[in-house]
Symmetry: C2
Subunit: 234 residues, 2 copies
DNA sequence: TAGTGGTCTAGACCACCTG
DNA sequence: AGGTGGTCTAGACCACTAG
């Protein structure tokens, strides 16, 4: 029964998923330890480890030293959303990218952004085949990214320039639905208070903020992605 | 210089990120191969491999056999969005969860869902501290999940029941902003055409669809998550 | 076709945690 | 205290692909 040998970690992953799937290992069940599985599959423990770790990353398994590996009770689905450069996002849809700077000045950020220090405020419109696509409203920390002061942002968007210039260590991001305000509805060819999709994002480089941006998309925008990353199906 | 030895894969990861960060290895640069790095760091190649693979997963590096490993030109940020059970999502916010079934019947799904066969149609409202939270409009494929026909869904939501009962291999998911229709605005205590956040999701088990659901959230809902998963900062 | 990453092995030691 | 996963090693072979 165990003579055949399942030797690749992907094959082991598939077999483990099959057993979970088939309820041989129901939710909450503690599965055999790595040594036993390695013996059963006829492979090295490291190979089993690789397979199980991958499934744990995907949220299908819960692993703890000494306690062992259990099938997750509530397999939390995880969707990975890519955050591309806007120009790329548009061009990948086969559309012609356009960019238009609206304003660029030094100012004091609003209190909700926490800053008392002046920062670079850039607003711009990105278009796809001439139609409004997304409105970018951005604050750049000029202490963290002094080079931004030399950039006019009239041809290259701050969005694009920062990606290749200002690395960050971490960030946070939010998605929401909001009514378009006067500025947004005018720029995006939308009715007043029309529902628009909004992404707000702040990035840090260590302790220092790099940039905070609010992206307001024209009506009809939809983020679409896939659950079950690559080989990790569950 | 190389005598010290960087022996853990996390330390190697940190060091590689530092070099990218410091522009010692600028975007597009091909970094040394694994054997050379292993020699420099005084560790085994497998350890370097683990570190670089992790960074490649995070989108910071691009790796190809024979071509080597390059620093990504456009480090695509990736945000991982958890898709929890609604009850858990509400309770984790410290709110009291409530559930109310609205309708449950067998019907022919609308053509955009591709089905000609009858399916189980369930609509329900989830509440947080008594306030409307999200409206669930779901179709369940009774060929794939026959057990659903025995479930009344009057106490346990389809959302929750399916998670522990109907495994899936993959799915797709979309996020958008939409105006609330009459039904939604009434149930969610929202004005007509108020902007609402909508998640639509379809899951498959192999070739067969499992369920398709549209979740319409009450105004003010916001998805929030972090960029730079865990130890992988970039 | 040769160089690079991808994977596997057999063994070892360590860190963590439950009982 | 002992069992389990986490990691590292030194070496090997394989798979892919750029030149």
């Amino acid at each position: 029964m165990s003579g055949a040998g399942i030797r690749s970690w992907q094959a082991i992953q598939t077999e483990v998923m099959r057993r979970i799937h088939a309820r041989e290992w129901p939710p909450g069940h503690t599965i055999p330890n790595e040594v036993d599985l390695a013996r059963e599959f006829g492979c090295a423990r490291a190979t089993v480890n690789r397979a199980l770790q991958s499934l744990a990353d995907a949220g299908l398994l819960e692993r703890r030293r000494k306690a062992g590996t259990r099938v997750a009770l509530h397999p939390v689905g995880k969707a990975t959303v890519d955050i591309p450069v806007i120009r790329q996002e548009i061009e990948e849809r086969g559309l012609r990218y356009g960019y238009q700077l609206i304003a660029r000045n030094i100012d004091i950020p609003p209190p909700r952004l926490g800053g008392k220090n002046a920062a670079l405020h850039v607003t711009a419109l990105h278009t796809a085949d001439g139609a409004p696509y997304v409105f970018e409203d951005r604050w750049i920390n000029t202490d963290t990214v002094p080079g931004a002061l030399d950039q006019p942002f009239d041809r290259i968007s701050a969005n694009e320039w920062l990606v290749t210039t200002a690395p960050y260590t971490h960030g946070d991001i939010g998605f929401s639905a909001q009514p378009a305000n006067a500025t947004q509805s005018a720029l995006l060819d939308a009715r007043a208070n029309a529902p628009v999709f909004v992404i707000d994002r702040t990035t840090w480089d260590g302790e220092d903020t790099v940039t905070t941006v609010t992206l307001t998309y024209a009506p009809g925008y939809r983020i679409h992605t896939i659950i079950g990353t690559g080989p990790v199906a569950f």
